[in-house]
Symmetry: C2
């Protein structure tokens, strides 16, 4: 069975998803307690793929894999695991295994690994490091969570800004331990303040007597060490940075951030916004049922309050509904269309706030535009739904009531869908987190009230 | 007024959003037709920031800015503009201006610039290029849209795989025109097939007699030229690539992709999923009212059909509602909770499909988990809502009916929220695009039917 698998194509043709037969052969090896076969299959995989595989199998299988795959679970795989799983795995590892796993990691990877662990686990990992690494990690942990200081690596390659290309190349060629990854040489003044950077490509392509300051990159930007990592990711994406020096409050060089870390942050922020907008705080497929239930419950509770609010509006019109049941049939349509239009406006606004495209300069124009879009779509669906309502119940006036309520609710949806996230952002609340509940409350309440209220006035 | 602005801080402190007074001073310059002041404010800005500013001002102001800011609108700014706006701007530029703007761009940037333009505009840009560039651009355009071939740059730095460090450095130092950006030297065999790559840092840090093949990077991966750009972005993020060689069907080197381009794709794909899930196909704040209305209309139309389907279910129970109006008051709560729970499951599933975490290996376990989560949350909210319903209308049995319907709908929500995107993905349909409408149809129909149907059986 396992012979069918070609290790050179662990992922389906070019699609990078874990091949089903690879996962199956791992499961078979665990079932057969065949450690040798397990090593044969897993060892050539990229740590990120091993982590994915680990996330995709069930909890019992994971324990089996950990026991069988002795020495395989190294620091790189631990780094790639989701936070929750990582805690589980660290709990399962013996102290000696853990020490061996983290000892090979760079200090910035250790920071990434331990920052979300609970105190006792963090202590266990720190104890496994030698003193120099431990101090480095503890210093990084002293920076605020999700800041540039946590993201950066301390290893940088710098040169005095008065050097020429020849001096720089000789310096690099005489260095014993250059960082694993670096793309720029950072130029600093005597106070260690970065004043520019030079790509290694330019260095290699320029004559020896050329001054470094004459071949610096335009893209040069420094990042304050306490800057939020979301802002860092934005800067990398906006300005096409590959790496950027990190500076302390005195503008002195303390480290550098490279684009691969910024890309991971950007991806994480996009996921966070997506899940928050859907009322899923955080959460992944490998969470346990109890965890997932707990994560989703608060949002459903908020929605229940919202829905009850809307029902209270309906309850004010019980007499009208008893008199004309068609109202009960049509009222969800008005509310639903409003909710949908509101979500459209809301999502565009939340994204635009995240990409800094919705600012104080254009907020009023955007709100006006959204209201106008709501008005036009409202009018279109008012005609459609007015005709359907009038024909369905043979009541032209009922059609008219649906139509007017539709226009009102879609305009309100545009206003609320843009206004609410903007106001939340001003108040310092993540608009992705809270806007949805507010907007649907507004569109439900307005939808039911406009439709039923108008019906009472016009029809009864 | 304009003197208040410090050009060195065009963006609010570390937050990178365009400062409001900067935008204001640009608007003032346009109003005063003060070209000199406009150049003073805009010229030091990064092209991406100019593009953002351009997107944030109104349509009339844009025309004014283009007229006044002669020579400022260069190819870099054009590249950073949103697609729709870019078309408008290119229409406004005179052929000579356009030619000057694009002539300085690298051929891969020109490809990015022209690929979404209509034919006549594409022709205008291509005409502005010299013959060599034109051929390069046309060749890139011959690759499928959104493929690695469109994303890559043709300029690579390669070396025969048998070279040592000294030969490589001498070669680089004797080259006249090295690419603007490159981070690796790609090793090729005599058939031009890439077999590994070496970072420039390793090259600079190794002794001259070291063989290149002994210092290659583990992260080496080639990208097929016809691979979807979404897969390319995934590979960069998953495997922490900085650059990757692109190969044709014969595995011959044809170009390279760098991480900054992959990051932009990743960001674009995340935006696409977010907007599609919200029923906004595409769209940005700078689109005109008519365009925005058109983009949102189809999704609202789908939602109308969904809502009418749900209303048809309600209409089957008109007699019951007439008899007990409390049903009309409570029924939206059951539907709304189902819709919310369904959206939670759906969003987690869509994201997991995008990140390749939901695969054939774990799909059944995930579906079972979601149903179980729905069951537990369903039971919790059944108790809450059962009590509320029973007390509100002083009818214990009504509370029981709400409770049972709640459990049923939340289990169905979990199943539909996971199952529907998985099936759509299998059918080759983007689950982000279509799942939402299906899932809410299911939860609305099931919610109303379970609640009203049960009420008829139990209460009437």
């Amino acid at each position: 069975m396992a012979d069918d698998i070609q290790i050179s194509e662990q992922r389906d043709d070019g699609a990078y998803a874990l091949a089903k037969d690879l996962v199956q052969s791992v499961l078979d090896s665990i079932a057969n307690r065949d450690a040798e076969e397990l090593h044969r299959v897993l060892d050539p995989l990229h740590p990120a793929d091993v982590a994915d595989l680990f996330e995709q199998i069930s909890e019992e299988k994971r324990a089996g894999l950990l026991t069988l795959w002795r020495g395989g679970m190294d620091g790189d795989v631990l780094s790639e695991l989701e936070e929750n799983l990582r805690e589980d795995v660290i709990d399962m590892l013996e102290p000696a295994q853990l020490a061996e796993a983290v000892r090979d990691l760079d200090s910035d990877d250790v920071v990434d690994l331990v920052e979300d662990l609970d105190d006792s686990q963090q202590e266990a990992v720190l104890d496994a490091l030698d003193d120099a690494d431990r101090v480095a990690v503890e210093q990084a942990l002293s920076y605020p969570e999700e800041s540039a200081g946590r993201l950066m690596q301390r290893e940088v390659v710098m040169a005095p800004s008065h050097w020429n290309v020849g001096e720089a190349i000789d310096f690099l060629r005489n260095q014993d331990d250059l960082p694993e990854q670096f793309y720029h040489m950072i130029l600093v003044d005597p106070r260690l303040k970065p004043v520019g950077y030079v790509t290694l490509g330019k260095l290699l392509g320029s004559r020896r007597e050329v001054l470094l300051t004459s071949i610096t990159e335009d893209s040069f930007r420094t990042i304050p060490v306490d800057q939020d990592e979301e802002e860092v990711a934005y800067a990398f994406n906006q300005y096409h940075l590959i790496s950027a020096p990190v500076v302390d409050a005195d503008e002195r060089l303390v480290g550098q951030i490279t684009i691969d870390d910024a890309m991971a942050v950007l991806d994480g922020e996009a996921e966070e916004d997506l899940l928050r907008l859907a009322g899923v705080g955080e959460g992944s497929l490998s969470d346990r049922v109890v965890e997932t239930t707990k994560q989703r419950l608060p949002w459903l509770a908020v929605n229940l309050v919202t829905a009850i609010l809307a029902s209270l509006v309906i309850a004010q019109f019980e007499a009208a509904i008893a008199q004309l049941v068609a109202l009960a049939v049509l009222m969800p349509i008005v509310a639903s269309m409003g909710g949908n239009a509101g979500t459209q406006s809301l999502t565009v606004a939340v994204r635009a706030i995240a990409t800094k495209d919705l600012t104080g300069s254009n907020v009023w124009r955007v709100i006006r535009r959204e209201a106008l879009v709501g008005l036009i779509n409202g009018l279109i669906f008012a005609v459609v739904m007015g005709i359907i309502g009038a024909v369905w119940f043979s009541m032209p006036l009922l059609g008219g009531v649906v139509a007017v309520a539709m226009v009102v609710n879609l305009v309100i949806a545009g206003l609320a869908g843009t206004g609410i996230p903007v106001v939340l952002e001003k108040l310092g609340i993540d608009p992705a987190l809270a806007s949805g509940a507010f907007v649907t409350t507004v569109t439900d309440v307005v939808g039911f009230f406009a439709f039923l209220g108008l019906a009472v006035v016009v029809l009864l």
